[in-house]
């Protein structure tokens, strides 16, 4: 069992008018086998939290800690975090011209595992995972994310999630921009990975729609750079009914 622990995390970004604090004291603990949903309005800092966990250089941690089984994640470089078992499914995956999916997947898998995967098994695994996510086999020969539709990019993120088998997955608005079919396919992928019993998930979303497919045990309402309220799955139902307004007013009043 693994634990990802975020304690009183404060994060700033550099803007034209000087540093701006985005995360204002986030605390969160996720264990293997758990799915936590983070729900919040646009601009509340959800992507900032996700990118900070992954180590994006734009975000400066001014105080607080992130640890993975007690190890200081903030001390690790971006690639070290991935090799330690953290995975970020990005909100906007970038295109990498000239690097084929096949080459990329094998290179990343080799880096994460510390050894090249057995060629025979690997090819089979990739094929099966692509089939499960209804990704056309021709994508293997295409360049990473190049010319992929929004939905295709998200499927490919989940493809990586299934192949790289991280300890913790952070999914940044993986549901946005997906039609109902794609949403189902992508959710099934996340559930397959979660059902292995070896992963914990931080599911970041703006809408409750994806929660019909992925069932979190914990829901955190995220407003203005911190967790405004935490609860069980029922909190999502209340959000569905009431929207974020109540929390935003509370945050503004605080």
């Amino acid at each position: 069992m693994s634990t990802l622990e975020i304690k009183d995390l404060h994060v700033s970004i550099e803007t034209e008018t000087g540093p701006k604090e985005i995360l204002k004291g986030v605390s969160l603990t996720i264990n293997t086998g758990e799915t936590h949903a983070i729900m919040g309005p646009n601009g509340s800092g959800k992507s900032t939290l996700a990118s900070t966990i992954a180590g994006h250089p734009r975000y400066e941690v001014t105080s607080g800690t992130i640890t993975l089984d007690g190890e200081d994640v903030l001390e690790m470089s971006v690639d070290e975090r991935a090799r330690a078992g953290l995975f970020l499914a990005m909100q906007y995956p970038v295109e990498i011209p000239g690097v084929t999916m096949t080459n990329f997947l094998r290179t990343a898998k080799t880096a994460i595992d510390g050894e090249a995967p057995s060629l025979r098994h690997w090819t089979k695994d990739v094929k099966a995972a692509m089939e499960n996510l209804k990704i056309d086999p021709s994508f293997a020969a295409r360049n990473v994310n190049e010319g992929f539709s929004g939905g295709e990019k998200k499927r490919v993120e989940i493809l990586q999630l299934e192949l790289f088998k991280p300890k913790f997955a952070v999914l940044d608005e993986t549901d946005s921009g997906l039609d109902v079919d794609a949403l189902r396919v992508v959710s099934e992928g996340v559930n397959r990975a979660q059902d292995t019993g070896t992963m914990g998930t931080l599911l970041i979303t703006h809408y409750t729609r994806i929660l019909q497919y992925i069932k979190p045990q914990f829901v955190h309402v995220f407003v203005d750079g911190k967790v405004a309220e935490s609860g069980g799955a029922e909190l999502a139902d209340r959000l569905e009914a009431e929207g974020y307004e109540r929390f935003e007013t509370a945050a503004a009043g605080a």
């Binding site: 250089p57 690639d79 995975f87 990005m90 995956p93 990498i96 000239g98 690097v99």
Partner: protein
């Protein structure tokens, strides 16, 4: 940071879409065009703009000789004055490194060195001839449009003519090996004829040492498909100036891939003239400049008739002190060229300090009735978001950088479509990268 980047349009792609309702006008060319397209780039803050100017007799503010349409072309050397380096089309070229190819001593001089040897693979349906300079087919596609090209025209004695017969579909590439062994300034002339409805891949491989001005004509006749790859893999000291002009007939398609990494100074002027309706041209290029190398490419796409397509993509990488690359892309959509669809892009990746990049896209549109026209130019150190993406998948920074640079270059290599040429180039680029200070 000792780096010079001269680009009109930094990382801001532009689209100009037009329908009958509006006339997009991008006036000016050359020095003016540079200034004007910079203005246009500024106007498009999101990097995406739709330009539409009310139709009517909008007068283009073109100063004489500044439109690409007005560029002098002539078979007479004397029509091109001795170069000063201040000419619009020579302002980036170090004339003192041309080794006399521009005949600085006057119009009576000639390029008398031995031309690099030409050998062409034998193929069914493909004829190869060596002809004298009086052969009537020569000069039917290409007319020199600068002094160095005119010097080659005035000087060459024999030309190689390669003809792909009508309806012939060549199953293996026509390989034209051009191998230099001397450094006396020389002239060379080649003509490739793709007869109606023929299909062929042609690979021009330049190797060895040479100081040569070259004129190459591609006559792509009705319904033909010609895929040309020109590889400049010269030895270190070579000086190579090459005008490669294509005329693309009705419903014909022409692909030109120019790859330059060898030599001291290489200056290419690839031209596609879309002369028959339904014609298509793709012009791709890849250049990798090391310390002290000057690699220059000046493209011209001439949309002279209606309903043609053009797509230009050139990518360059630079490393080392005084590595200098120049890319100028002139696209002219003439008044007659309604229904044109055109795009051009140049991207440069700077891998070390001390380099210089010049990148100038010039788009001139004389009709409003086009399907689309756009241009983009970018010069970047490195895309940090790409780096982050790969590192977030566990790949170490050094490996991630190599993947990205390879990927950047491979995008062009993948366009060649000839397996062994692609493989050799991938290896070649890897060894260029070994020297890179990654």
């Amino acid at each position: 940071m000792s780096q010079t980047v001269n680009t009109t349009d930094n990382a801001s792609p532009e689209e100009i879409d037009a329908d009958g309702a509006g006339v997009p006008v991008i006036p000016g060319m050359g020095e003016e065009g540079e200034k004007l397209s910079a203005t246009v780039a500024e106007a498009s803050d999101a990097g995406h703009a739709t330009h539409s100017v009310p139709s009517g007799s909008q007068k283009r503010p073109v100063k004489p000789g500044s439109s690409r349409a007005d560029r002098l072309s002539s078979f007479e050397l004397a029509d091109f004055p001795a170069l000063t380096g201040r000419e619009e089309d020579w302002r980036f070229t170090p004339l003192n490194r041309l080794a006399g190819l521009h005949l600085p001593d006057g119009d009576d001089a000639r390029l008398t060195g031995a031309a690099p040897a030409v050998s062409v693979t034998e193929l069914d349906g493909v004829t190869v001839e060596t002809v004298g300079r009086d052969d009537a087919r020569l000069g039917t596609v290409l007319t020199p449009d600068d002094r160095v090209s005119a010097a080659a025209w005035a000087s060459f004695e024999q030309a190689t003519v390669v003809t792909i017969g009508a309806d012939v579909e060549a199953t293996t590439p026509v390989r034209i090996d051009i191998t230099g062994t001397g450094t006396a300034p020389a002239a060379q002339h080649l003509l490739v004829i793709a007869a109606p409805n023929s299909r062929a891949d042609v690979v021009l491989q330049h190797r060895g040492s040479a100081v040569v001005s070259q004129n190459i004509e591609f006559d792509v006749q009705e319904g033909a498909g010609l895929n040309v790859t020109s590889l400049q893999s010269w030895d270190d000291g070579a000086v190579h100036v090459s005008a490669q002009q294509a005329r693309i007939g009705k419903d014909a398609s022409f692909k030109h891939v120019a790859v330059s990494y060898g030599g001291s100074l290489v200056r290419l002027t690839p031209t596609s003239r879309l002369a028959g309706q339904g014609g298509e041209t793709e012009m791709f290029g890849l250049y990798f400049a090391d310390a002290g190398q000057h690699l220059e490419q000046r493209l011209f796409v001439d949309h002279a008739v209606a309903n043609c397509k053009s797509n230009v993509l050139y990518k360059g990488a630079l490393q080392g002190q005084d590595a200098h690359t120049v890319w100028v892309g002139d696209v002219l959509i003439r008044k007659e060229a309604e229904g044109t669809d055109s795009y051009e892009k140049n991207q440069n990746l700077v891998l070390s300090e001390g380099t210089r990049v010049d990148s100038v896209p010039n788009l001139e549109i004389e009709t409003g009735l086009i399907d689309g026209a756009g241009h983009a130019s970018s010069t970047a150190q490195f895309d940090d978001e790409q780096l982050f993406y790969l590192m977030a998948r566990g790949i170490e920074e050094k490996d991630a950088r190599e993947l990205i640079v390879r990927g950047f270059l491979h995008e062009i290599i993948q366009k060649i479509g000839i397996a062994d040429v692609e493989e050799t180039l991938i290896d070649q680029m890897d060894s260029e990268l070994q020297v890179a200070s990654l």
